[in-house]
């Protein structure tokens, strides 16, 4: 369990985290989303006792992180896969971290096997790809078999097989009753992995909900209708209480009516319907709708 309570962090005039409160519960993968500069990494650093908050508190398993003795047994973390000494081998990198918390060599070997790095254990990290470094970082996070995990962009740099691997790993860790807070920019990946979402923008909480409910609550739920009698059908649908918008290629995007009602209406008036597709919003679209106003670094509207 991670409890963040009215957390704030200011760097001079810049407010990175602004009165943020949320709770991350065990047994789920909780996705931690937000635009660049939203305060995700700062929040994670404060939870890990690396940065001190301007105000508010962050607790892990009921404790302030800095007060935990041998914290790797309580909390595993991966903030930056590139934060390794290039001149050290994977084995010694993990061993030095393990030893600081009284963890033995056997556990280091186990994790090299689990993350598929045993063949390169004796190689210096300098030559590792980003994907291999991510695996090494995940190995380090799991050394103490912790009930809580904080992972910042763990899928970054992984190949499709690696992404599939980490998805299964995260889900199985959550199924074991652990608490996982995972940040990511890969929305399609988060939609598959995270059961719950915490979304922040400009240091404030924008949403804290189960993934499914968050996506469903998005406004972008409609039915795509393609018909040779689109013009006539549009009038009928509007009269029946739906709202109709052109969806390109002569198709209609209908909101406010279920697919069955639309089909029945068309049939009753003898209008042929070629396509009738209920469209579910994507997490990505729901996320963009929510965070649109809180993006700090935008590439110009045309890019969207």
């Amino acid at each position: 369990m991670i409890e963040v309570d009215r957390l704030a962090k200011r760097f001079g005039p810049v407010t990175a985290v602004d009165g943020l409160s949320f709770t991350v519960r065990p047994g789920h993968v909780t996705g931690f989303l937000g635009p660049n500069g939203a305060g995700k990494t700062t929040t994670m650093r404060i939870i890990l006792g690396l940065d001190s908050p301007t105000s508010g508190t962050a607790r892990v398993q009921g404790h302030r992180y800095a007060g935990i003795v041998r914290p790797l047994h309580q909390v595993g973390s991966l903030l930056d896969a590139n934060a390794v000494h290039g001149g050290r081998t994977a084995w010694f990198h993990l061993l030095s971290i393990a030893q600081s918390n009284g963890i033995g060599r056997r556990r280091v070997t186990e994790l090299l096997q689990l993350t598929g790095l045993e063949a390169v254990a004796g190689r210096r990290v300098k030559g590792f790809s980003l994907g291999m470094r991510q695996r090494l970082g995940i190995a380090a996070a799991l050394l103490g078999d912790p009930p809580v995990l904080l992972l910042d962009e763990p899928a970054n740099g992984l190949d499709p097989e690696g992404i599939h691997w980490i998805r299964l790993l995260l889900r199985s860790l959550a199924a074991e009753g652990r608490t996982l807070l995972v940040s990511s920019h890969l929305m399609s990946e988060m939609a598959l992995t995270a059961d719950r979402l915490i979304i922040i923008g400009r240091g404030r909480l924008l949403a804290d909900a189960p993934t499914e409910r968050f996506v469903d609550a998005s406004a972008r739920r409609d039915v795509l209708v393609r018909s040779p009698g689109a013009g006539e059908l549009a009038g009928l649908l509007t009269a029946a209480g739906g709202s109709v918008a052109p969806a390109g290629g002569g198709a209609l995007a209908v909101t406010g009516l279920e697919p069955a009602a639309i089909g029945d209406l068309a049939a009753a008036h003898g209008i042929a319907v070629h396509e009738l597709i209920p469209r579910h919003p994507s997490l990505e679209q729901a996320y963009l709708d929510l965070t649109g106003d809180s993006v700090d670094y935008r590439a110009g509207r045309a890019a969207r």
């Binding site: 690396l50 992180y65 935990i68 914290p71 934060a83 030095s96 393990a98 600081s100 918390n101 380090a140």
Partner: protein
């Protein structure tokens, strides 16, 4: 007390201290460049000792008090060449972790930053001290072996000689720990090296610019002049006694470590 609380309470402080020391020792020995640095220190120190010894042996007969110089000269390699790489070894112990971001992994594993500082200082300081003593005795024997052919050599049994050789070895430990503290404060290698050079070399030179007698009165508290006193058989007048100079040599790394501890425990990682 729940199981989690029991685990959080954890083992005793001594066990944890040992864990952190073991971890830092693993870090030090698992980076190849550290071994190269120590090897470079060894080659340069012993090489310059041999060189100085032969130059001295072929030179004109010494003036009265000559053997004193013979002792001091055997450690010329230290003052000129060994102190800096030993200091850099210390600097890298912190600055390499800051440069890569590894320091966050270190602090996440050991939130008590004073303990991290202490463990790094102990491990790096001990490694440099042992290397320093080995090199001091090797340099001494090598120069004296060259000089004894000219009947100018000294032996360890002569009064003050053994102490001076031991003290010369301490110099590398002092340098490494001072460098470690500077690395923690400055974080960048280049800046920390500049600070180390300033502290070890330039500070004593700057004191020479002061009007007499203030040049010595202040200069005697610098690392360079204190180091000169501890390896000299006949200490220079106006400076501190060898014993007090030894205290000065211990005080510098202690002060730098203290400052480093205050800085790293307040600063965001």
């Amino acid at each position: 007390m729940s199981a989690a609380q029991a685990r959080a309470a954890g083992p005793g402080a001594i066990v944890r201290g040992r864990d952190i020391l073991v971890s830092e020792w693993t870090k030090l020995r698992s980076v190849r460049s550290n071994r190269w640095t120590l090897l470079a220190v060894a080659i340069v120190t012993i090489g310059s000792a041999a060189l100085v010894g032969s130059v001295f042996a072929s030179g004109p007969p010494p003036a009265p008090g000559g053997p004193v110089t013979a002792l001091t000269q055997s450690f010329l390699g230290y003052a000129e060449y060994a102190v800096l790489p030993a200091g850099v070894l210390g600097i890298l112990a912190f600055s390499s972790e800051y440069a890569t971001g590894l320091i966050r992994t270190t602090y996440a594993a050991v939130p008590r930053r004073w303990a991290v500082l202490g463990a790094k200082a102990a491990v790096v300081g001990a490694a440099a001290l042992i290397a320093g003593e080995v090199l001091a005795f090797t340099s001494f024997w090598l120069t004296q072996a060259i000089l004894s052919g000219r009947h100018r050599g000294l032996s360890l049994s002569q009064p003050g000689v053994a102490g001076a050789v031991l003290a010369a070895g301490v110099l590398l430990g002092v340098s490494a720990v001072t460098g470690l503290g500077l690395g923690a404060i400055v974080r960048h290698v280049a800046g920390a090296v500049a600070a180390l050079v300033g502290l070890v070399y330039l500070l004593s030179l700057a004191c020479l610019l002061l009007p007499s007698p203030w040049d010595d009165r202040i200069g005697r508290f610098t690392i360079a002049l204190a180091a000169y006193q501890v390896v000299a058989l006949q200490p220079q007048r106006g400076l501190l006694s060898p014993a007090l100079s030894m205290l000065v040599l211990a005080a510098w790394p202690a002060a730098v470590l203290l400052a480093a501890g205050v800085v790293i425990s307040r600063r965001d990682a």
